[in-house]
């Protein structure tokens, strides 16, 4: 009956955030959410599998902390210029994960972290091309992405 329970739940919460937490809006929101998730089902997207959802708060914690840190770092690069020996450059990162949802999450994380931008992903050789604003050691960056985000995302989604 409900092909995407998480989507339905999020739509109900969104409806109630916009219209108020009352019983009437819960019923109305539930009707809208159920019909919306049926129409989503007719598009037949890949159903994301959350294997270890209890790791999600840990991921959000790490990402929030990194976003604060890189906000300050990029602000200082813009205001004071790059320190000696630092450059900006392209970075090709080979990824092991193939799950679409996990890749989408990684794209969101890397884009919303200032200082790194996701340019393109090649599903043929599973490499993502990034542009990094402030880089000292390229291997260290690749290692950071793989150990900090990719490992956790693979545990959650694959």
């Amino acid at each position: 009956m409900l092909p995407y329970p998480l989507l339905t739940l999020s739509l109900i919460i969104m409806w109630m955030l916009l219209n108020g937490f009352t019983l009437g809006h819960f019923v109305l929101g539930a009707v809208v959410a159920v019909f919306a998730s049926w129409s989503m089902a007719s598009l037949r997207p890949d159903k994301p599998k959350l294997r270890k959802w209890h790791l999600l708060p840990k991921l959000f914690g790490i990402v929030l902390y990194d976003i604060v840190r890189s906000n300050l770092a990029v602000a200082s690069v813009i205001l004071k210029g790059r320190p000696e020996g630092h450059t900006s450059g392209f970075l090709a990162v080979p990824l092991e994960m193939e799950d679409r949802t996990a890749l989408a999450f990684l794209a969101i994380i890397l884009t919303s972290t200032p200082g790194s931008a996701w340019l393109e992903y090649d599903s043929g050789d599973r490499t993502v091309l990034l542009h990094v604003l402030d880089v000292i050691d390229e291997d260290q960056w690749i290692e950071m992405i793989k150990s900090r985000y990719e490992k956790l995302l693979m545990e959650i989604f694959e």
Binding site: V77, S88, F90, A107, G124
Partner: protein
């Protein structure tokens, strides 16, 4: 019941002002960077300041202010934050790939070749970063 801005307690005013200033300053710095950084690929980093903690700070300030001023939790701003975060990568990738395509076609600068493409590079060659 809705209070006016002058009626909210001092501690709340301080917290709201803090988040509002942090968000606004980061967005401003992002805009300055957008103007000043030399290359396209460096410039696309600057607005992400506004779309991460820029929007985050202003969102938090708005949530705190309206929750206290109207004496009930007002949380719907979080949706703005979620949708901005989720949709930014789409436009970013579009812009970045358009720029990559143009630079590769015109052979501008030191843009890496297309990864694993059969026409331009050997399939097993490692793209230089």
């Amino acid at each position: 019941m809705m209070h006016s801005a002058a009626d909210i307690p001092l501690w709340a005013a301080v917290v709201v002002a803090f988040f509002l200033l942090v968000g606004a300053s980061l967005t401003l710095i992002g805009a300055i960077g957008f103007l000043r950084l030399p290359t396209f690929y460096e410039r696309i980093h600057a607005p992400t300041l506004g779309t991460s903690w820029g929007i985050g700070g202003i969102m938090l300030a708005s949530m705190i202010f309206f929750s206290i001023a109207s004496s009930r939790p007002v949380l719907h701003e979080i949706l703005i934050g979620i949708f901005v975060t989720v949709t930014t990568p789409v436009t970013f990738m579009l812009l970045a790939r358009a720029a990559l395509h143009r630079d590769r076609a015109e052979r501008n600068g030191n843009v890496p070749e297309k990864q694993g493409s059969s026409e331009e590079a050997e399939p097993d060659s490692v793209p230089s970063a």
